[in-house]
Amino acid sequence: MQDFRSSSAKRHPAEIALISIAGIIVFLEVAPFLWMVMMSFKSRLDIFEIPPKFIFKPIIANYYNAFVEGPFSKYLLNSLIIDSSSTLLAIAIGTLAAYAFSRFTIFGAKHIFFFILTTRMCPPVVVALPLFIMYSKLGLYDTRLGVILVHTIFNLALVVWLMRGFFDEIPKEIDQAAMIDGHSDWTVFRKFVLPLALPGIVVSAMFCLVFSWNEFLFALILTQFDASTLPVGIPQLVTSRGTYWGQVAAVGVVITLPVLFFALVFHKYLVRGLTFGAVKT
């Protein structure tokens, strides 16, 4: 495998062919998204045109109808509030837990660490119904707070697992030196370790933002209207009188764009985040 890398100066035709194949595959990966973007600017008539039109008069009516006339500005606001709050909460308490796993002795640490992972791996549908009943009784049903809490839980495992890895990479000698200087545990954490772990926190936070932004099932069953997020709103555009395809595409574009930005900027850390820190890059 390695010899390819060094000999990149002169290219075999075969190699060019291989890269073209890869290019085509990548194109197929993004084509549906491009199609959706195009569709979001089409009028209802243009959408139904067969054969599909590639040149048309772009309109913004779909965005207007969904976000100004329709309820999607509300859903967008809910999404933003729920996303940022649950991320802050998950980072705040998850980072503490990760530090505990990295630096302190905890009875049964291995089991607790495993338990935390199961809360993430477990399909949401497993706890969905009990949560639904609990939320109804506690008055948390269809509230932003309710969704924030459940998204926090959903992301906690990821934060704990990722941040533990980042803390483990910070030499323990730094803590020890600071302790010898007479600082308390809390000061050591806040003043010496935390600044060094900042890149890890940013990466974890980004992943939390994406997962909460995309999360569907919990938001679907725990909200009705007041606290609904963008993903939950979309299926409402599929009505018995027909589907508002243009608006579906417009909302789809709005949901996708921030994540796209994230994927491009945090490219370097994608593998680490997606494997719960198991693969460090």
């Binding site: 495998m1 890398r5 990149s8 190699e15 890269i19 194949i21 595959i25 197929l28 990966e29 549906p32 998204f33 199609w35 139904f48 599909p52 998850g94 503490l96 837990a97 796993f101 302190f104 002795t105 905890i106 291995k110 935390i116 199961t118 809360t119 791996m121 399909p123 549908v125 497993v126 706890v127 969905a128 119904l129 009990p130 609990m134 809490l149 459940v150 839980i153 308390s184 545990d185 809390w186 994406v210 932004w213 995309n214 569907f216 679907l220 963008l230 979309i234 395809w245 789809g252 949901i255 996708t256 994540v259 994927a263 490219h267 994608l270 997606l274 719960f276 198991a278 693969v279 890059t281």
Partner: protein, 294 residues
């Protein structure tokens, strides 16, 4: 001033209390429900204790559940298998430097980062019988299509698989590419000195070195594919008939459409146990190999 001995527990307390409230309590609740008969469609049902009856019925008699498990297993094997070969192959292809590589890789990972709901919608649009571009393309190459691909029992599950493969091949690709990049040079130099062929080098050097990584990637994919719900909900709702009734969709239907809570709880507990086994494998592997993996 908190004693050092207790500091770890203090730091862990907020996380654990939140998890107890929103994970353990609901889970125990599900456990309790699963040994009761509680169907919200039947009035005045108090949820009497029925022992393991729900589980017994689920395991022995519920053909729908077994159908759903069956297609979930087929779905798992096909999508994870194809994704692995495609993703690994693509990683090997692109494991070299060339102009525009970074942007190509960044673009390739787009499908798995965007909301599953948005993915579902994109494909729903593309596969729509009247206006979908894919329907149009299939027809224009001369293949007759009488019904929408997702609306036909024969093609619905395959179509879902193709969508999953489209969405998640980049995941394997990305991980394997990272793995290939991180391989040490020495074994390759040694193998070349020994006159090993390219195939031999791949089989005897690359594969063993990447093995832990491959297993991690596969386990994560298995867990995620098993959880597939959003796309099914958006694209088919489990239909037509129950052709795409993957197990999480089945559990959702029993709980939130049929409101058969006792029985539904036993379904989710079984799902939980299955996921627990795979998660335990993942855990053992990552903890043991932590320092060795890449």
């Amino acid at each position: 001033m908190i004693k050092r001995k207790y500091m770890g527990y203090v730091l862990l307390a907020p996380t654990l209390s939140l998890l107890v409230f929103l994970s353990i309590i609901p889970f125990v609740y599900a456990l309790i429900l699963s040994v009761r008969q509680l169907d919200l469609k039947i009035p005045r049902m108090s949820g009497q204790f029925v022992g393991l009856d729900n589980y017994r019925y689920l395991m022995r008699e519920d053909a729908e559940f077994w159908h759903s498990m069956g297609i979930t297993v087929i779905f798992l094997i096909v999508v994870v298998g194809v994704e692995f070969f495609l993703g690994f192959g693509l990683a090997i292809l692109l494991n070299r430097e060339f102009w525009g590589k970074r942007s190509l890789v960044s673009l390739a990972v787009v499908p798995m980062m965007i909301a599953p709901v948005a993915v579902g919608l994109m494909w729903r649009v593309a596969l729509n019988y009247e206006l979908g571009i894919i329907t149009y393309l299939i027809k224009s190459v001369g293949i007759p299509l009488k019904e929408a691909l997702l609306g036909t029992t024969a093609t619905a599950l395959t179509t879902l698989m193709i969508i999953d493969i489209w969405q998640w091949t980049p995941f394997i690709f990305l991980i394997m590419l990272a793995g290939l990049h991180s391989l040490p040079k020495e074994p390759y130099e040694a193998a070349q000195v020994d006159g090993a062929s390219r195939v031999q080098i791949f089989r005897l050097v690359t594969l063993p070195l990447l093995k832990p990584l491959i297993i991690i990637a596969l386990l994560l994919r298995v867990i995620d594919a098993f959880k597939t719900f959003d796309q099914v909900y958006i694209l088919t709702g489990g239909g037509p008939g129950n052709a795409t009734d993957l197990v999480c969709m089945f559990a959702y239907r029993v709980n939130f459409k049929l409101w058969n809570l006792g029985y539904g709880a036993s379904v989710v507990i079984v799902i939980f146990i299955l996921i627990l086994i795979v998660t335990a494998l993942f855990y053992t592997l990552t903890q043991k190999k932590e320092r060795e993996v890449v």
